[in-house]
Symmetry: C2
Subunit: 388 residues, 2 copies
């Protein structure tokens, strides 16, 4: 047994320990399941000739970013400047901020990192002001080389969040990017977040068909003015088979496939989609027992509930009810079935992995299964709390 | 202007900066409002001759714990062993874990801290096994003095979470505690979490009347066997006027009064309750604009949504809709009203403060108001992520 590294003074687990010794609540990766997901997704993209740029907003980890890139991913996506800078500092060499950044202080930090030339950065824009501010920040940081950063014009493909309207409005932004030599127009960002969580396979297909129409319309408008988009990037775990089949998207940004949460698993699966397994769990313990319930030590400070409560992976037959910030209330699905006993381990599948990961400082990576496995490594969640 | 302390390499704010310069999203305390809440709560308890032991699961901060104790609080509560140990290490001298701990590894860490004798600890129990394990851990750590730790028997006063049934079952646990000289029976833990969030004042009054009946029944059962409870502890911001008026509770554990979130503010106020103001805000910025919406840079990685979405404190007339992990969608409450512009600041009142605080590494403490104030200090959130 090995002591935890210095940077984990409160580590809930040590490398080499058996699963039973992991303190609770802890965020545990079933490494075998994760690696199967990793390989299946890499194969899916490779077989279709598509670039894979997984979203690191899921795992927030430089180590897992490198693992994905070692399996063929061209780089990773993030949503926040601070995420990009921390991953770059940890050695990730190709990072796309698939989101708008307009604060000059943030852009100045990004521009300084661009100047280092150790990581290739890309960023999304959806307005002229954002483009001009980005160019000004690069100028302010003394970045003089041409095409120092890749810039994607984000179009709103139906989600109604960020993104310029498809067509002419996108064209104006592409022209604007070309006015700044430090910016390289890299293509279109086209992502429909809402589509990921529509339950029916047909419903998701229809939604992405409409998104594809918006992309096609924009590509046509651009082409008529002589602009050939180098790439269209987007897609998530819930919808990727449709973007992949469209012939429009050249890069997939799916992230959740790595861990699969309860919410994604509740989707009707598309026939063409790889099968992804649950690989992320909250290990919890029963801390109080009554005649009709057992209380475990994981509440919504341990797992996010924005996409629903966690499911109980083990023991079978239990239903998790909300017990607040620090507790979960476990009842049996069938009347009269046995409840777990004081001290028993309860494995939870988070409703939504991304914000669950953001609650923890590290993953406990287990090899050999959750019943008999051992802790193989602890994986730092480098960009936890990287909100800015 | 002063550089941030070394331990905040990514601090979103520096001491001395104006509010406008605070990066977004950031968790900001209006220190003036917080201090008014602090004084009102201290006066409420003092005037009624009640002990105040605020719940540090709200603010997770040693500095704010010390501030509360300087204003008369006898100590603080926490929910987790790791919270207790971190606050003790940061110099908080009186800490009650108002929750059950049954894992031997956790109890061993607690027992080691008890042995130091620099912090007075208390803990809740709701089963014989928990009592015996606590005593064994103290023995294992070489704690030989009598009454080395205070132990409260938690009774379930209607919430249906932890806690032994009122009456005879509690008596058995009190007897059990007396079998272990290292444990001092300190009284009853009687808290109804669900009562805090019932909207109607009459509804909360009824709920706590039933809780009081359970407490009275238990105190009578104990008294008949010669056990006079030294103290009954419990109550939260939503219900405290009722526990205070009952003549049963001697100690109030309210925490949220310090910050007041949107959920508590939605309660019909009890006439006897002090007026508490919103003192905790997420500072956010508009990062994308369309004809019908503005998108700000705060989503549910910046604020918890388990008790509802945040409200917009400023500018007036905006409604916040869920935009996912990293975005908020802002629309006008009245059709045709103006939307904020790109780069504008948006101040959000979190739906639920406790898990919101747990998403951040520090508070930015502002003096002089959110419009024209300055950053007076950064306050570390010492027990963020202290889940075990």
């Amino acid at each position: 047994m090995k002591a935890p590294p210095e940077r984990w003074p409160h580590a809930q687990a040590w490398v080499g320990q058996g699963v039973a010794a992991i303190d609770t609540p802890s965020l545990v990766i079933d490494l075998d399941a994760m690696e199967r997901n990793l390989a299946r997704m890499a194969a899916f993209a490779r077989e279709r000739g598509l670039r894979l740029r997984p979203h690191a907003k899921l795992h927030k980890s430089a180590e897992l970013s490198r693992l994905q890139m070692a399996q063929g991913a061209v780089g990773v996506c993030v949503q926040k400047t601070e995420e990009a800078l921390r991953l770059a500092a940890a050695g990730v060499g190709d990072i796309f901020i698939s989101n708008e950044v307009i604060a000059p202080a943030k852009l100045a930090r990004l521009a300084s990192a661009v100047r280092e030339r150790t990581t290739r950065f890309a960023i999304a824009v959806d307005c002229a002001e954002g483009i001009d501010r980005l160019a000004a920040a690069l100028h302010g940081a003394g970045v003089t080389e041409a095409a120092a950063i890749d810039v994607f014009v984000e179009i709103d493909v139906g989600q109604g969040r960020c993104g310029v309207a498809p067509g002419e409005a996108a064209l104006a932004l592409v022209r604007r990017i070309h006015q700044h030599p430090a910016l390289r127009w890299a293509g279109l960002q086209a992502y429909h977040g809402g589509a990921q969580h529509r339950r029916g396979a047909a419903e998701r297909a229809e939604t992405i068909a409409a998104s594809a129409q918006a992309v096609r319309h924009t590509l046509d408008a651009l082409r008529q003015q002589g602009f050939e988009a180098p790439l269209v990037t987007g897609a998530g775990t819930g919808s990727l088979v449709h973007e992949a089949a469209s012939g429009l998207w050249g890069e997939l940004q799916a992230g959740s496939y790595l861990f699969m949460d309860a919410d994604y698993a509740a989707n009707e699966r598309d026939a063409a989609s790889p099968v992804f397994e649950h690989a992320l769990f909250v290990k919890s313990q029963v801390m109080s027992c009554s005649a009709d319930r057992a209380i475990c030590d994981a509440g919504h400070k341990s797992h996010a509930i924005d996409s629903g409560l966690p499911q109980v992976a083990h023991p079978a037959g239990l239903v998790f009810a909300n017990g607040g910030d620090e507790h979960g209330v476990l009842r049996t699905a069938a009347a009269g079935a046995p409840l777990p006993a004081l001290g028993d381990t309860v494995w939870l599948i988070p409703g939504h992995c991304d914000p669950t990961v953001n609650l923890h400082d590290f993953f406990v990576g287990v090899r050999g299964g959750l019943s008999d496995g051992r802790v193989e490594r602890l994986i730092t969640i480098d960009t936890r709390g990287a909100l800015t």
